[in-house]
């Protein structure tokens, strides 16, 4: 409108207003400023969104990467025959009688010897005092080794034990001298000892395979906890979801897209599907609890039940995306098939479905990714609070025995008050996100590679 101001007719009875094309008048300037402001608001909004994303991802990475390293203590343990096998005949039943308490003195003396032989001065009196730097799992690890190799009794062998979570936290900067002032588990004398041992390479931080492959541990042993067992639980759940939701979803979509007559029943199905897509996930958990556990008496915390609940939850997503890809197959394909004498069913199953398959698979993978990260319904069917301390023994146990799932395990760790568990929770999130990223990447690649534009 800047141009219009030039040719304004002179007001009757007054001198014509003098304006210039080269000079912006006040109103134009105001409007231009408003324009610029509006654009900046938009930029700020996008910027805030991206900043949030960066903040979220960096919080995950900064807090989570520490979970992938763990502190270990290396030492030589003498497997004393007097303690481990009093009869001396290597009878497995005799060796089994020695509990983990029996192994503790061996570790204590090994620790004491190590410190003495390295010539480290410490305020701690003996191995028993120094034990606080070791994980409680060390004795169990030693016992497992002895039970597996009874012929090694009497020898001196080098072991690498987990350090306690406090020591681990000290090396990672989570535990400081100030923060342990009231901690009964560890004292600053221990930290001095750790400093010395670290100089000499006895205590070191290495990559922690145990976190990826291990099982959950009790509340007092965060250093031992791993996400492996719940990964298996998630795997079995996803298997159930895939085997049920893909065929059912595809069948339902084919019916609605290709066969359904225009009637009230079809309308009801359509309305139901769009409503189910918007029902909060926790309501599906309530359904699972009432229908599968209380009514059908399926086992609590079992991946089978989790998979059933997640199937019901992801079905609408899969149906919606499958219908979209069926719709994108041009009508001429169907007409051609019918024209050469195929039945309606044959035209759909032999021609339309194969052409729509890449789109269907993409939608299914995205639905699976959504199901993999879902937590709330799993809480209600008892997947939290269960300590997944063992791997399932077989395929049937994998489906039916209580287990946890990755997001449920992360939630469980987040509820435990120990900061060492928070670190595990962040680490678990990194693994979960890696899985989700891989699945989404596969979906994107599938779409790029096979998608056809008609």
């Amino acid at each position: 409108m800047t141009d219009a101001t030039v040719t304004q007719p002179a007001a009757p009875g007054g001198a014509p207003k003098k304006t210039s094309l080269l000079k912006l008048d006040q109103r134009t300037r105001r409007r231009n400023a408003a324009e610029k402001r509006f654009k900046i608001y938009g930029m700020i909004a996008v910027g805030i969104g991206l900043v949030f994303l960066v903040a979220l991802l960096s919080a995950i990475i900064v807090n989570g990467t520490n979970a992938f390293t763990q502190t270990f203590v290396t030492m030589n343990v003498t497997l004393n025959e007097d303690v481990l096998d009093k009869n001396g005949n290597r009878n497995p039943a005799d060796i089994k009688k020695v509990s983990t308490f029996g192994y503790a003195p061996l570790i204590n003396s090994a620790l004491e010897n190590k410190v003495e032989s390295l010539g480290i001065e410490t305020l701690l009196e003996d191995g028993g005092d120094m034990r606080a730097i070791m994980s409680a799992s060390a004795a169990a690890q030693l016992r497992d080794y002895v039970l597996g190799n009874p012929d090694q009794i009497g020898e001196t062998i080098e072991f690498r034990f987990l350090a306690s979570s406090r020591v681990d936290g000290y090396l990672k900067g989570r535990v400081t001298r100030e923060s342990i002032a009231r901690d009964r588990n560890i004292s600053s004398a221990h930290l001095l000892l750790i400093d010395d041992l670290k100089e000499l390479g006895v205590v070191e931080r290495v990559f922690n395979w145990g976190f990826i492959t291990g099982t959950d541990a009790s509340e007092a042993r965060p250093e031992q906890a791993g996400i492996g067992a719940s990964m298996i639980g998630s795997f079995f759940m996803m298997l159930v979801v895939l085997c049920l939701s893909l065929p059912i979803g595809v069948a339902a979509s084919i019916y609605l897209e290709e066969f359904a007559p225009q009637n009230r029943f079809t309308d009801i199905i359509e309305v139901n599907i769009s409503n189910l897509a918007a029902v909060p996930s926790i309501v599906f958990g309530i359904l699972g609890l009432a229908a599968f556990i209380q009514f059908a008496h399926l086992p609590q915390s079992a991946p089978l039940v989790g998979g059933l609940v997640l199937t019901l939850m992801t079905l609408p997503t899969i149906i919606i995306s499958t219908r979209a890809s069926l719709k994108s197959v041009p009508q001429s394909i169907r007409d051609a098939a019918l024209g050469v004498g195929a039945s309606k069913m044959q035209s759909v199953f032999h021609h339309v479905l194969p052409l729509a398959m890449p789109g269907i698979l993409t939608g299914t993978i995205i639905g699976l990714a959504q199901a993999l990260g879902e937590t709330a319904p799993l809480l209600l069917i008892g997947m939290v609070g269960f300590i997944a301390s063992e791997y399932p023994n077989g395929i049937q146990e994998g489906f039916l025995d209580p287990n946890s799932a990755m997001p449920a395990q992360i939630f469980e760790w987040a509820k435990r008050a120990d900061p060492a568990y928070y670190e595990r929770a962040w680490g678990g999130i990194i693994i979960l996100l890696l899985f989700l990223m891989t699945m989404n990447l596969i979906a994107i690649l599938l779409r790029r590679r096979f998608e056809r534009r008609w």
């Binding site: 409108m1 409007r31 408003a34 324009e35 509006f38 654009k39 608001y41 938009g42 930029m43 700020i44 909004a45 996008v46 805030i48 969104g49 991206l50 994303l53 919080a59 807090n63 059912i248 069948a251 339902a252 084919i254 019916y255 066969f259 359904a260 199905i269 139901n272 769009s274 409503n275 918007a278 029902v279 909060p280 926790i282 309501v283 599906f284 309530i286 359904l287 609890l289 229908a291 209380q294 019901l312 609408p316 039945s343 069913m345 990260g373 937590t375 709330a376 809480l379 209600l380 008892g382 609070g385 997001p407 992360i410 939630f411 987040a414 962040w426 999130i429 979960l432 996100l433 989700l436």
Partner: protein, 545 residues
Amino acid sequence: MSSFWLFLIIVSLAVIGFFVGTSRAMSVASGDKRKLHSLPSYYGSNIAIFTIVPSFLLLVIWMLAQPLIVSSSVRSHIPADTIDPGSTIGLVMSDVQRLANGLDVAVSQGFMTEEDARSVQAGSSDIRARLGQAGVVLGSSVRPEVLQAAQEYRTMTSTGDMLRAIFVIGIALAGFAYAFRKTSVTFRARNTVEKTIYTLLLGAASIAILTTVGIVLSLIFTTGEFFSIQACLSEVDNYEQTHLAALRAADMNLQNCPLGNVALLDQMTSVTGETFSVTTGDYLSAFADFFFGTTWSPSFGGGSELGILPLLWGTFYISVIALLVAVPIGLFAAIYLSEYASSPVRAFAKPMLEVLAGIPTIVYGLFALLTVGPLLVSAFGDDGALGLNWMQGGTAVMTAGLVMGIMLIPFVSSLSDDIINAVPQAMRDGSLGLGATHSETIRQVVLPAALPGIVGAILLAASRAIGETMIVVLGAGAAARLSMNPFDAMTTVTAKIVSQLTGDADFSSPEALVAFALGMTLFVITLGLNVFALYIVRKYREQYE
């Protein structure tokens, strides 16, 4: 024979049927495919379908019906006078079932012969100890009538299982034979097979309806149970107050709902002279307590106050904060990306924002608990940077609301983006041609045209916010209170559903059942919002040619 093996037998019969049918079709056509109505494989499939479908249906129906029939028959054989006062027939039946399962385990592990399990007497040998050997733990000592009922239960179940196997396999074979006999040159096998497939497709589509029905039924029944217990408890209060003296004199202390306990009800009637009955008024007061109660203090010992208002307030407050964060940011981001951004910027920023939508909610929950919460405390808390001392702990309405807002940004922005893009370019061109600036065009032409869609998107986002669970479970705190301070810890409907159902509570106690009433409320609210959103979009949408 277990149902799994039965199933395998049927399936292998069907597989055999497929091959037999295919070769039969070829042989009736004397090797010339062209004489057949359908392709040979359709004849094979036809036999497979006739083998598997009726027998499988029978198997499913049998598996559902048998336990009901057996337990009702056993139940009718338990003499009423052997049930202790204070116990119910349901409890006795669960004892019977446990004992029967225990006997099964003992037999399968070889601690008992089948003969023993059938004939063992409660008095003659210590059955508890023998089952204990097999790793079955029984609560109390076994009474003779329970043992007898358990043995009857086992006999009936095993007879039933045998009959089931005979009938199911019989039906499968009959179907096989029928379809085999029907195989002829003129038989229209393809039509039958296609009709079956059509039915299967229809069945798959109906699962959506079944799911909804399942959700509604499971919510209605459990909610009904909750309200009837609450109504009964409120009548117990009334009753106790009116007959306080008489009940004291008889040394009776009513705590639980006496309904279902005939002996206690008789005793109460004889002590007070008034029959105990739950009235409509009790139901009304139970409804009023739930929907208008301002205190939420569940205690698993009884005497809990379960009013939903504090939870609804927390839900509402957190959702409002989340929408205050998500709507402006999401809307402006959508406007910028669809109207201003150059295509490289759009190609980068849009997927990046949508990454936020793909992150699981547990991640947001942890982010709220461990990052945003402490950050807010360091700003608004005790000795905070601003010296305001508004915030006591990291979990608060603000924490959960902010993080939920972040989660909803991509939801709002991608929905609005679609809607803004659907406004025809001609309207923009017209406005720009009249001399309006770009922002004036957006504000005065594009947004009004897109408004119904945007309102619908915001309503959908609100329904997401109300139903969101993990962020509030981790970030909002556990205290149910009615407070205006956004830095207070509050709790929501979803968080309380989780906490009431994940404890060790008995599922029949009102403290656990209340979770289903909460779930029902949540379901109705979110469903209402969704339907309303769709209605607005449909009603006010401009139809462009």
